[in-house]
Subunit: 299 residues, 2 copies
């Protein structure tokens, strides 16, 4: 039989990735209360917010207040798209930054108006400087399996991109199936390669549940030795390219599957559901993940 890790780490992305496309403006207090609830439940690594232009993402306009207000336990990431964002994030007191790029040219062009090569060229000096300063750098890699515009991505292209980040000294690669299209065989193949080729870099799997394969993909990644998973409490965050479709895999469903397989997460499932309850009234879509639905309907 396959061997599975004894414990895994969840990187909670709800407060940033989950809320960023939320249409209703969520108050800073509601966000901080959500973050506090998540930390109380045992979350130690989290994407807190992002330092982007409030014109692009009005939901993240309170990033300074979020960084100032959130408890500094474990690793609290902030997402930064460029030099201005990095400066603002460091000024605000952030010590773990996340940068992002897609593997596919079309995705980057639509998203940030640069080709993949141009994006990487812009990131390189920023990352080298951050590593000089001793800042933890997480590289989020979108469209690592499929692109909404280009279709299937060659795994070699993803691996080559990861390799550049590794050369620049990034601490973590978060490798994402952005449109929830990867299958477990593809998940196993890519993560097996990444674990073998980059043994000294943290490898994190980021799956979306659009086609209901998220936990199957996570199970396959576990078999490839991955022990870090991005997940969003309540499954918050839709995929903008698939209206009505589910987005990020739900933290509570990942935690439940791990615990049922005797894999420790350090997270208390009930505390996690209580944190989700805090944010539920502030978001526009009903939360109907597996474990939260059972929690709400408990006798």
């Amino acid at each position: 039989m396959f061997s599975l890790p004894k414990n895994i780490t969840i990187i909670e992305v709800g407060p940033r990735d989950g809320l960023q496309n939320e249409k209703q403006l969520v108050s800073t207090d509601a966000k901080l209360s959500f973050i506090e609830g998540l930390q109380k439940a045992g979350i130690t690594e989290m994407e807190l917010t992002s330092f982007v232009s409030p014109k692009w993402v009005p939901q993240m306009a309170d990033s300074k207040e979020i960084v100032a207000g959130a408890k500094k336990t474990g690793r609290q990431f902030v997402l930064t798209p460029n030099e201005r964002g990095i400066t603002a994030a460091l000024d605000a007191g952030a010590d773990a930054l996340a940068v992002f790029v897609g593997v596919s040219d079309s995705f980057n062009k639509k998203n940030i108006n640069k080709s993949t090569a141009e994006s990487m060229a812009a990131l390189k000096p920023l990352i080298l400087k951050l590593k000089d300063q001793g800042v933890f750098v997480r590289a989020c890699i979108s469209t690592a399996f499929y692109c909404p515009f280009e279709g299937a991505i060659n795994p070699e292209d993803t691996i080559r991109l990861c390799s550049e980040f590794v050369d620049w000294g990034v601490d973590e690669l978060s490798v994402a199936d952005t449109i929830g299209m990867a299958n477990p065989a593809e998940s196993y193949y890519l993560f097996d390669q990444l674990k073998q080729q980059f043994p000294n870099t943290l490898i994190t799997a980021h799956f979306h549940d659009t086609r209901k394969m998220a936990l199957a993909n996570i199970f396959a990644a576990l078999q490839a030795g991955v022990d870090r998973f991005d997940a969003s409490a309540g499954g918050l965050g839709g995929c903008p390219f698939a209206p009505g479709a589910t987005g990020n895999v739900a933290t509570e469903d990942v935690v439940n599957m791990m615990h049922r397989m005797n894999i420790e997460t350090g997270i208390d499932l009930e505390g996690l559901c209580e944190a989700i309850e805090k944010i539920e009234s502030h978001v526009s879509n009903p939360i109907n993940t597996g474990m939260y639905t059972l929690y709400k309907n408990r006798p």
Copy 2:
């Protein structure tokens, strides 16, 4: 890397397992049109209906008309709880019957007012007679992993029950995680044992998506060599013990995962979604499975 089968068979359970708990009475015409649509999409094995008392399950009161009206292609199962049901089913022209029992005593007592041993004692002469008559017999085994009343089921108990059925000559064992609580490691363990111990019996996995692990469990069962899966178009059929929770794994999501892994099913995904569209207006809950949601929101 693990090896996966080249093709699998779906046993569509929507018309029976999916509709039986549906509160709105679905017309015979609507059911037959659903069944026809499923067959056109390439479904060759299906649970058509059940011959139970219309007092218990009013939705299945038209079982004779369903058997008479449905095209006889491949294997069309009817569920029969007892001798009276078996006689009625054979009289109606059915040639593939499904019988059912739970592994757990409490489940059987709540469900059919008999212990597991009493249920098996009642089934034995019926099955032996059916096999004498050359009828295809499918044994549906509930609570094979967890029971809503007793909790975890010892896999050895499930295997022992299966072994009795095999001794009596049943053609197929459909082994079910009735409350959607099994994890992929448990799925692999049990199905690996069943495939090894009963190499001459068809082994079918039946998963529920209550905790979103259905496709992960199916992926694990594939790794154990299982190549038959029960599934319900549109995910029809809730789990009566978990209000609001998702029930049967959706056929369209299973088919998609298989096709994406280059595993053939013989089923046309678009035709399947068209069949689901036919039944959607007749059922009370909205259908929001992965692939059907994408189908409805297609540009």
